[in-house]
């Protein structure tokens, strides 16, 4: 099998809830490294796309899709596909920080144990490593006793990122990871994502265009066309912000949209 430079290859992907189509005919490649921002007005299916990549949409009974999505060369919708393995490799961060209501340590070790790590020492060092990457190791003491819900919002969000990082994912999908946070915490997450983007693939949905401009290597612009979300344009950050091909993209990044 030849390894493609893309971790995700999305081909003619459409998604609907019940009968209402949310995404129509999206084709998009997500590279193995670097940060891709997904921008676009509310309701254009950005979250739907992210959730589909982790197959968390399986939980929504009304959800259906057409087209296909390849992860690491494998169609994630094929019959005998290992969804648990996909979720291990594709971390998903939600807008609202959502740590589990137990100790910080257990938040990080539980997914590790779930995915087969048994050795105590190994678990401990992996947890510490993740805590260090997100900058919580020095900030939070006594992680075995401290309840994760007692952390600040920004710390909680970084904890959530650390929780997926323990699994050594190949992709990190973030759905508006900073929008529920104060600017300082937001900046910390941003810096963290930039660091992570050097090693793995990071996809960030954001409404903050300045942020998209600052951190991303490439940008995908989604928009509603006749009530259905569509991918309008995708390209390098510079190109999208300075010389977009499509007039809707230009209007959106100029702020004259709508």
């Amino acid at each position: 099998m030849t390894t493609s430079p893309n971790i995700f290859e999305i081909n003619n992907f459409s998604a609907s809830y019940r009968d209402a189509e949310a995404l129509n005919d999206v084709s998009l490649n997500i590279p193995r490294r670097g940060i891709m921002s997904i921008i676009g007005p509310s309701g254009c299916g950005k979250s739907t796309l992210l959730n589909s990549l982790n197959r968390i949409t399986d939980l929504t009974p009304d959800f259906s899709h057409r087209g296909d999505v390849h992860f690491d060369g494998q169609n994630i919708y094929q019959r005998d596909f290992d969804v648990v393995n996909l979720r291990k490799n594709v971390g998903l961060i939600f807008q609202k920080p959502n740590p589990f209501p137990f100790s910080v340590y257990k938040n990080l070790s539980l997914p590790l144990k779930e995915h087969g790590m048994r050795n105590r020492k190994e678990i401990e060092s992996t947890v510490n490593e993740s805590m260090k990457i997100v900058g919580l190791l020095d900030e939070v003491s006594n992680i075995r006793r401290r309840n994760a819900t007692e952390l600040s919002g920004g710390q909680q969000q970084r904890l959530c990122i650390a929780r997926t990082l323990t699994l050594k994912p190949k992709v990190l999908l973030c759905d508006e990871p900073c929008s529920a946070l104060d600017p300082v915490s937001g900046k910390k997450i941003e810096d963290l994502l930039v660091r992570l983007g050097k090693e793995i693939s990071v996809v960030v949905v954001t409404h903050n265009l300045a942020q998209a401009k600052r951190i991303s290597d490439c940008v995908a612009f989604f928009c509603m066309v006749e009530g259905v979300g569509k991918l309008i344009e995708k390209g390098d950050t510079q190109k999208i912000f300075n010389a977009a091909q499509h007039h809707m993209t230009r209007e959106y990044v100029d702020g004259s949209f709508g």
Partner: protein, 278 residues
């Protein structure tokens, strides 16, 4: 105006609840306390229960109760967990199961008693025994318990469910580390309700665990429960009123203790959850 009405009704409700309870308690204490003694609790009944105590009956009652809970709790827990993980995926199936459970929950206990007699006593050849009684009670509380557990599981925030799924956590892990700790107070409340219904049950036991007032030696022996004893003394034994009242007082106190104990445990729950999570 509606505010005043609400207040009036609320006060009326409180007065009726407390009033009924206090009147009942005073009545029981008045007519039962003379018979109530240390000896009453720790000796065997003589002369159809007109004399002596209720020791074997307390033992039978506890055995029936423990069996009922032992059978009912794990099974309803598993059913409720199954329903919880299914409920957002398979609406028709879940609807059907829930409707059946609701129907079962509204069946009078005497019907369960008759069913228990036919199925456990006769068909499974368990006879009039504590085991038959326990199984019948388990069956009786199963639907309500199941529905209560399911309802408390539904209070788990949807985001928690999404996150745990997005991390690839198995259902077992989610149930054990998130779902059950989250709904622990609902679970305990459901179990308390079940326990109280079991302790108070008469009709379902008359036909299944029987009337024997001897000390049961095993779960295959027949044994009379406290509520059956009260019923017998009050209805079928002339002059049994005093001891019936005393036994009823014991029943009330037992229920009160069970309730207080369990709620005391629930109140302490945050501590042991925290210390159990390492």
């Amino acid at each position: 105006m509606t505010r005043v009405m609400t207040k009036v009704f609320a006060i009326a409700a409180v007065v009726i609840c407390i009033g009924t309870f206090v009147t009942m308690l005073i009545g029981l204490i008045n007519s039962g306390y003379q018979s109530l003694s240390f000896e009453f609790l720790f000796s065997s009944p003589r002369n159809f229960g007109l004399e002596g105590g209720i020791a074997p009956i307390l033992i039978s009652t506890s055995m029936i109760l423990v069996l009922a809970i032992l059978f009912a709790v794990p099974i309803s827990m598993l059913t409720a967990i199954f329903l919880f993980f299914r409920c957002r995926c398979d609406t028709v199936q879940t609807r059907l199961i829930l409707t059946v459970l609701e129907l079962l929950a509204s069946i009078p206990s005497i019907v369960f008693g008759l069913f228990g007699m036919l199925f456990f006593c006769d068909f499974l050849h368990l006879g009039f025994s504590i085991l038959s009684g326990g199984l019948t009670l388990a069956l009786m509380i199963f639907p309500t318990l199941c529905l209560t557990l399911f309802a408390s599981f539904l209070t788990l925030p949807n985001e928690t469910r999404m996150v745990s799924e997005s991390l690839g956590l198995s259902r077992l892990t989610v149930a054990r580390h998130l779902l059950i700790p989250h709904s622990i107070s609902g679970i305990v409340a459901g179990i308390v309700l079940g326990v109280c219904r079991c302790v108070a049950e008469t009709a379902a036991l008359i036909f299944t665990s029987g009337y024997s007032i001897r000390q049961p030696r095993s779960i295959f022996d027949s044994g009379r429960s406290l509520s059956v004893h009260i019923y017998e003394l009050a209805m079928n034994v002339a002059g049994g009123d005093a001891n019936a009242n005393a036994a009823a007082l014991v029943l009330l106190i037992v229920l009160l203790i069970i309730n207080l104990l369990i709620f005391a445990i629930v109140d302490r729950q945050p501590n042991w959850i925290r210390s159990a999570n390492h």
